[in-house]
C-alpha cells in the first residue's frame, strides 16, 4: 500500500456528526480503496465514546483531536491542526462537506497545502490519478467541469448529493485520539446561538416554502403546519423576506440559500430566475400557484393550479391521513 493517504474532514457540532461529513467520508473511502491508499477520517473537537457512525463507512483510520477549547469552531485552530495532519499523513486528496464550516475551512487549508480546490462539487469521477469534478456556477444556471492541477487536490462536496455508504467497520481500523494543547485561538466562536429549535433549509430533506402569494405573515402557519406534518423546514422567497414576513435565514435563491432537498414545495411563489437558481436542483418539486403560467411550473414535477388557501389545509390533512 502507498504511504499516501486520502483524508476527509469530519464536522461535529455539539457532539453530533454532520451527515454531510459522512457523505464526504464515503467518497473518500471509495477513492482511497480504489487507488490502494489509506482512508483517514479526521475529527476535531467533541467528546465521543464511540465512533460507530464514522467507522461504519469502512474508513481505515480515525484521528480525533480533542480539547474543550475545540468543541466550538475556531477557524485558526482547526486550520492549523487539520493542515498539519494532512502533511504528516501525506494526504494527496482531501475532502470536505460544503457546509458553512466546510466552506470556511477548506479554502484556508488549500493555501496551507498549496493545493488546488473545487468548492461545492456535485459530481466527481476518477480515471487513475485524474479526477473530473463538476460544480454548479451562477447558482445552478450552468455547470463547470474541471480538473485540479496540483499534486494535492481538495474537493468540498455539496451536502445531500453523494450517498452515505456503510459497508461496516474495517477489520484493521486504527483509532488515534490526541489531546491538543497550545491551540491558536486567534479566531474563536465564543457562543452558539440556535434559532429556536427550527430546522434549517440548508440541512432539510424536505422544504416547504411560501412566497408573496401567502398574502401576509399571519398566514404562514399554513406553511408551518404542513412543514411540521412532513418534518420539513420552512423556506421563503426574497419578496417575503424583504417585506419582513420571514427571517433572512429562510430565504432560498441566488442571494439566499442554495438548497437541494429531496422534496421542495413552492407555495405562492412565482419562480423568478433568482429563486429557481437556488432550488431547481431539488430532486422533486411541487408547485402550488393560482397562475397557470407562473414560471415555477417549468421546473415542477407536480403542480396544482389553484388557491393555496384552499389547497394547503387539504394537503396537510391528506398527508396526515396517509402517514397515520
Amino acid at each position: 500500500m502507498s504511504t499516501e493517504t486520502v483524508i476527509a474532514f469530519i464536522e461535529q457540532r455539539e457532539n453530533e456528526i454532520k451527515k454531510a461529513s459522512l457523505e464526504a467520508l464515503s467518497v473518500c473511502v471509495k477513492l482511497a480503496d480504489k487507488s490502494n491508499k489509506k482512508s483517514i477520517a479526521v475529527l476535531v473537537g467533541g467528546t465521543f465514546d464511540s465512533y460507530d457512525k464514522i467507522s461504519a463507512t469502512g474508513v481505515r483510520k480515525i484521528i480525533h483531536v480533542t480539547s474543550p477549547e475545540l468543541n466550538l469552531y475556531s477557524a485558526s485552530a482547526y486550520a492549523e491542526i487539520f493542515a498539519n495532519i494532512c502533511k504528516e499523513e501525506t494526504a494527496t486528496l482531501v475532502f470536505f462537506a460544503n457546509t458553512l464550516l466546510g466552506k470556511d475551512l477548506a479554502p484556508r487549508i488549500s493555501v496551507r497545502l498549496e493545493a488546488g480546490i473545487g468548492m461545492d462539487c456535485v459530481d466527481l469521477t476518477s480515471e487513475g490519478q485524474e479526477f473530473i469534478a463538476t460544480r454548479p456556477i451562477f447558482a445552478g444556471k450552468a455547470l463547470q467541469q474541471f480538473q485540479v492541477l496540483t499534486k494535492i487536490k481538495i474537493f468540498s462536496l455539496r451536502p445531500n448529493v453523494f450517498p452515505v455508504v456503510t459497508p461496516g467497520s474495517s477489520p484493521d481500523l486504527e483509532t488515534v485520539r490526541k489531546d491538543s494543547a497550545n491551540n491558536n485561538l486567534a479566531i474563536k466562536v465564543s457562543e452558539l446561538k440556535k434559532a429556536s429549535g427550527k430546522m434549517d433549509v440548508s440541512e432539510a430533506d424536505i422544504i416547504v416554502s411560501g412566497g408573496r402569494g401567502m398574502k401576509g405573515p399571519e398566514h404562514f402557519p399554513l406553511i408551518e403546519t404542513l412543514a411540521d406534518t412532513l418534518g420539513a423546514a420552512v423556506g421563503a422567497s426574497r419578496a417575503v423576506v424583504d417585506a419582513g414576513w420571514r427571517p433572512h435565514g429562510e430565504q432560498v435563491g441566488q442571494t439566499g440559500k442554495t438548497v437541494s432537498p429531496t422534496l421542495y414545495f413552492a407555495c405562492g411563489i412565482s419562480g423568478a430566475i433568482q429563486h429557481l437558481a437556488g432550488m431547481s436542483s431539488s430532486k422533486f418539486i411541487v408547485a402550488i400557484n393560482k397562475d397557470k403560467d407562473a414560471p415555477i411550473f417549468s421546473v415542477a414535477d407536480y403542480g396544482i393550479v389553484g388557491d393555496l388557501f384552499e389547497i394547503l389545509p387539504l394537503l396537510t390533512e391528506e398527508i396526515k391521513r396517509v402517514k397515520s
Binding site: 466550538l72 493555501v111 455547470l143 479566531i187 474563536k188 465564543s190 452558539l192 440548508s202 442571494t255
Partner: protein
C-alpha cells in the same frame, strides 16, 4: 485606519446564462453587469466603519476594463479611492487572492470587507485565502459586526443559527445578507465620482490551479404533471409523492 472593500463585477442576477457554442466558455453578449450583491453589503460596512472610526476607504477590483463600471459606482457611493487590477484572463480564486493580496499589502489595509461569495462562480473562497496569504484574521458569512479598538465581535450565520465569533484586527470580514442595508449613490456622489481617477495595476499572478474542461447547461426537467385543484387533485398529488416519487 485604511479600510478596503473587494468588489467583484458580475452578471445581473436576472440574466440567463448562455454558453458559448463549443461550451468552452460563457457568452456574455448583451448581459448587464452589476456589483456582486454581497459586495454591496461589504461596501456599506466599509462606509459605516469609516464614518465611525475615520480612515480612508479603498475599493479593489480585478478583471477586464469593464470592472471600472463597478468601481465608479463604488466611488459614487462614497468610497474614497479605487484600484483596478487589470487582467483579461478568467483566473481561479487563488490567483485572484494572490493578486489582491499584493495590492492590499501595498496599501497597508488593516480591515477588509468582501462578499461571502461572488454570484458568478460561487466559490466563496477569496476572503479565507487572503486571510492565509496576509496573516489577517478572517470571519466569513457575517450578519452582524462590532469593532471596539482592535477587538472584533461578529455573528456569522450557520445552519440553524449563528455563531458569535471573536477576533482582532487586522481582519477580513465577509458579508452575508442581513449585515446592513446598503445605501444608494447620491446625485452629488455620482457627479463627483466622474472626476476621480481609478488607479491601474497589472495582475502579476496568472497561473491557475484549476483547468476548466467545459461548461454545461443543467438538465431541464421533462414537463411535470398538473393535477386538479380540488380535494381529488390533492389526493392524487399525495399518492404520486408516495408511490411514484417515493418521497413520503
Amino acid at each position: 485606519m485604511n479600510i478596503g472593500v473587494c468588489i467583484s463585477h458580475v452578471p445581473d442576477t436576472a440574466s440567463k446564462i448562455k454558453l458559448s457554442e463549443d461550451h468552452s466558455g460563457i457568452d456574455y453578449t448583451g448581459v448587464p453587469f452589476i456589483i456582486n450583491p454581497y459586495d454591496e453589503f461589504a461596501m456599506e460596512e466599509a462606509l459605516k466603519t469609516k464614518e465611525k472610526s475615520g480612515g480612508t476607504t479603498y475599493a479593489l477590483s480585478l478583471g477586464k476594463d469593464t470592472v471600472k463600471e463597478s468601481l465608479r459606482k463604488a466611488l459614487a457611493t462614497g468610497i474614497d479611492e479605487a484600484v483596478h487590477i487589470k487582467t483579461e484572463l478568467e483566473l481561479d480564486s487563488f490567483s485572484v487572492a494572490k493578486n489582491l493580496a499584493e495590492e492590499i499589502k501595498a496599501l497597508n489595509l488593516e480591515l477588509l470587507f468582501l462578499g461571502k461569495q461572488s454570484v458568478d462562480f460561487d466559490s466563496g473562497s477569496v476572503g479565507q485565502m487572503l486571510s492565509e496569504l496576509l496573516g489577517m484574521n478572517c470571519i466569513t458569512n457575517c450578519v452582524s459586526l462590532e469593532i471596539n479598538g482592535t477587538e472584533i465581535k461578529a455573528e456569522r450565520e450557520i445552519e440553524g443559527g449563528r455563531e458569535v465569533v471573536v477576533t482582532a484586527l487586522p481582519a477580513i470580514i465577509t458579508a452575508q445578507k442581513g449585515l446592513n442595508e446598503p445605501r444608494y449613490a447620491s446625485l452629488k456622489g455620482i457627479m463627483a465620482a466622474k472626476k476621480k481617477t481609478i488607479a491601474e495595476k497589472e495582475a502579476v499572478f496568472t497561473d491557475s490551479r484549476i483547468n476548466v474542461l467545459k461548461y454545461l447547461s443543467p438538465q431541464g426537467k421533462s414537463s411535470g404533471k398538473i393535477l386538479g385543484s380540488d380535494a381529488g387533485g390533492v389526493k392524487e398529488l399525495v399518492r404520486l409523492l408516495k408511490e411514484e416519487a417515493k418521497v413520503l
